[in-house]
């Protein structure tokens, strides 16, 4: 057990802080949430700055174009960028946190060379085509078909909850390359493909969330051709490849958000003090409790990241499910508490935290519902038997 930073890490933090202080004032104004081309340009512009300053792909392996930083340096990066109010990863989310790490771990040298540098440079945006209308929590039951035709797969089916689909260049796509049968369980026969979003036959229709914005989309695939060479991993081995991706999503992808939640708590305390509600001991204790909880979640994040550094290939461990369960619940509690700080003002969408409160409702659903996470914890960590 050790919580001290080395001189090198402190130096890394100081240089990063100085750089952020210099570049953040130079950034253009943030685009409105519904301006998708504007958001793409803004997010890619920020990624380009990171790339030019040597901060892109910090924790990626050096042979994948990354900087090979230690887990602790990665944590410092996420902590400092969040604290300074730097742009969120945004449209680069899938490229940097799902597809990129998967290609780095499972792709060939050619595939890495083709797809990873544009992600790091801020040239290309990726989206995720995993879920289907009939395959949500039971992702392995997906039915989008890929039929081999010469050097191509011909793909037909539909995908849903595809974030950034409207502005993406590429989609990490899960397809069924072998039909489910007596000898083929559903989690076999799936393949992981990189699909160009401008390929003929791809139709994207935005989906409006309960927050009122078009954060994600439905995607219809009608005989879309994808070269066999754009498959990552072996044919029919896509489920295992996907599990690598999902463990990244559940492991360390939320580091910046935990820091942001801690900052929000501080703002809530100030607001409560200003409007007098701080004098209500019930609310005050609720805020104090959340402060303790998010402090522990920050430590758990640090622990998970150092565990990931220990395990081969830097793949975050199953502890990510424990973290996600605790975090998604705490995040919803945070914004419910924010509403208590605001009182009736929480009914106005113009108030700070109110749109975030609406967004937070997805946290116990996205990337594996809390119920599925509890099954994972019970079966894979605690060893309880699978139900019949």
């Amino acid at each position: 057990m050790d919580l001290t930073y080395t001189e090198e890490e402190q130096d890394f933090r100081a240089r990063l802080r100085a750089w952020l202080a210099k570049v953040l004032p130079e950034l253009p104004a943030r685009p409105s949430p519904d301006d998708w081309p504007g958001r793409r340009a803004y997010d890619l512009g920020w990624q380009r700055r990171l790339y030019e300053a040597g901060y892109a792909g910090l924790h990626w392996p050096v042979d994948a174009g990354g900087r090979g930083a230690t887990p602790t340096q990665h944590l410092i990066f996420l902590e400092e960028t969040e604290r300074a109010g730097a742009p969120y990863v945004g449209a680069n989310f899938v490229g940097l946190l799902h597809a990129g790490p998967t290609i780095a771990a499972e792709g060939t040298a050619e595939q890495r060379a083709r797809w990873l540098p544009p992600v790091l440079r801020g040239d290309e945006v990726w989206c995720q085509g995993f879920s289907e209308p009939g395959a949500g929590s039971d992702l392995a039951s997906l039915r989008t078909r890929a039929v081999r035709d010469g050097n191509d797969y011909v793909i037909t089916g539909s995908k849903i909850w595809t974030s950034h689909a409207e502005v993406a260049d590429w989609c990490e796509l899960l397809v069924r390359t072998q039909p489910v049968g007596a000898d083929v369980p559903k989690h076999r026969g799936i393949s992981w493909l990189a699909m160009r979003m401008d390929a003929p036959g791809v139709t994207v229709r935005p989906l409006r969330t309960l927050a009122g914005s078009a954060e994600f989309a439905e995607m219809f695939l009608d005989e879309v051709r994808v070269p066999v060479a754009d498959r990552v991993g072996a044919e029919n081995d896509g489920w295992r490849v996907t599990m690598v991706t999902l463990s990244f999503e559940r492991g360390t992808a939320f580091v910046g958000e935990v820091v942001a939640c801690r900052r929000t708590l501080g703002e809530l305390a100030r607001a409560a003090k200003a409007n007098g509600r701080w004098d209500d001991p019930v609310l005050r204790r609720r805020l104090g409790r959340l402060y303790g909880e998010f402090g522990a979640l920050w430590r758990l994040t640090q622990w998970n990241v150092s565990e990931a550094g220990r395990s081969a290939g830097g793949v975050p461990g199953i502890g990510g499910s424990v973290f996600k369960l605790a975090y998604s619940h705490a995040r919803q509690e945070l914004y419910d508490t924010a509403a208590e700080v605001l009182g009736a003002a929480s009914l106005s969408l113009d108030e700070e935290w109110v749109p975030d409160r609406l967004s937070s409702l997805s946290y116990t659903i996205a990337a594996g519902t809390s119920q599925i996470q509890q099954n994972i914890v019970a079966e894979r960590i605690l060893g309880l038997p699978k139900g019949r």
């Binding site: 057990m1 930073y5 104090g288 369960l325 914890v377 605690l382 309880l384």
Partner: protein
């Protein structure tokens, strides 16, 4: 070398394994049940021989400097050792005697039993066995009250004592006891859910039971993080968070464990109630949930200008 790391070192893991082995041999389930049975007849008492053995093993002198006859280790080692004591439900004023090492003669060696004014209000635990009371010049007189925990006798006293100097360490070590108990109740629940069959399958195959167990583990693991981190930083806010989260993990863990055990969980024979009752006692010791939350709220407001601490 990783700077931000909670994984116990090899030495720390050896220390923990040693204490687990000692307690398994010296205070296993039979000894636990024997002390419950004895308490029903003669009232609960501290096992002085066990106390001396714990002393010889360095349990109380762990953090005392080697120059003063101690082991010279720190809070990170102490929380691992207390976690084991919590898991085994070792009765007696472990925390107070540990804190008294180097202050009260005999505490470090385990030849003295030291309790403390660690409860809010007029109650003191283990007064009848105490050679000294932290925060008081002499052992005060007290009237016995019927204790909810068969292994934690309580007395009502008129005197009050000041233990503020010990409060943070006391809260953290108590949190470590709670953590051990919480982790143990997860094990007990998972074992029972895997063995007990209804409707033709182990009850642990039902999602309703699985989810109870999963939530127990999540609370315990978040508490573990908080306890280990607080042991490394010693930060009062982190200690308060550790106590708050470990209290909850232990109390709710025992409650859920009881529920998983069904009717058996409501019996005297199952150990579940012993974990629950002790967790209730510890939740009242050193720093209650209300006190921890108020302390954290104060820190939050204080830090609101600087947007959270580094590291």
């Amino acid at each position: 070398m990783r700077a931000v790391d909670f994984q116990p070192t090899e030495d720390q893991q050896h220390l923990r394994a040693g204490v687990r082995g000692l307690l398994a041999g010296r205070y296993g389930r039979e000894a636990l049940r024997a002390s419950v049975d004895a308490s029903a007849e003669a009232g609960a008492g501290v096992d002085r021989a066990l106390w001396r053995e714990l002393g010889e093993a360095g349990f109380f002198a762990l953090r005392l400097p080697e120059a003063e006859g101690g082991v010279g280790l720190g809070l990170p080692e102490a929380v691992l050792v207390f976690e084991e004591a919590g898991r085994a439900l070792v009765p007696g004023p472990l925390v107070a005697t540990h804190l008294a090492a180097g202050v009260v003669p005999g505490a470090a060696a385990g030849t003295a039993v030291v309790t403390a004014f660690d409860l809010d209000g007029p109650l003191v635990a283990h007064l009848g066995d105490a050679d000294a009371v932290l925060g008081a010049a002499a052992v005060p007189a007290g009237e016995p009250v019927r204790s909810v925990d068969p292994l934690t006798p309580l007395h009502r006293v008129a005197a009050v004592g000041d233990v503020s100097a010990y409060r943070d360490a006391g809260a953290l070590l108590t949190a470590a006891l709670q953590l051990g108990s919480a982790l143990r109740t997860v094990e007990l629940a998972v074992r029972y859910a895997g063995e007990r069959e209804q409707f033709g399958q182990p009850i642990g195959a039902f999602q309703a039971v699985k989810h109870l167990c999963a939530r127990m583990l999540v609370r315990a693991e978040v508490a573990r993080t908080a306890v280990y981190a607080a042991a490394v930083t010693g930060d009062p806010g982190e200690v308060a968070a550790a106590k708050l989260l470990a209290d909850e993990a232990a109390v709710l863990g025992a409650r859920d464990c009881l529920q998983v055990h069904g009717g058996m969980g409501f019996t005297w024979e199952a150990d579940v109630h012993l974990h629950l009752k002790r967790a209730w006692v510890r939740a009242e010791q050193w720093r209650t949930a209300a006190q921890a939350e108020e302390l954290l709220a104060g820190e939050l407001l204080g830090s609101a200008g600087s947007a959270g601490s580094a590291g």
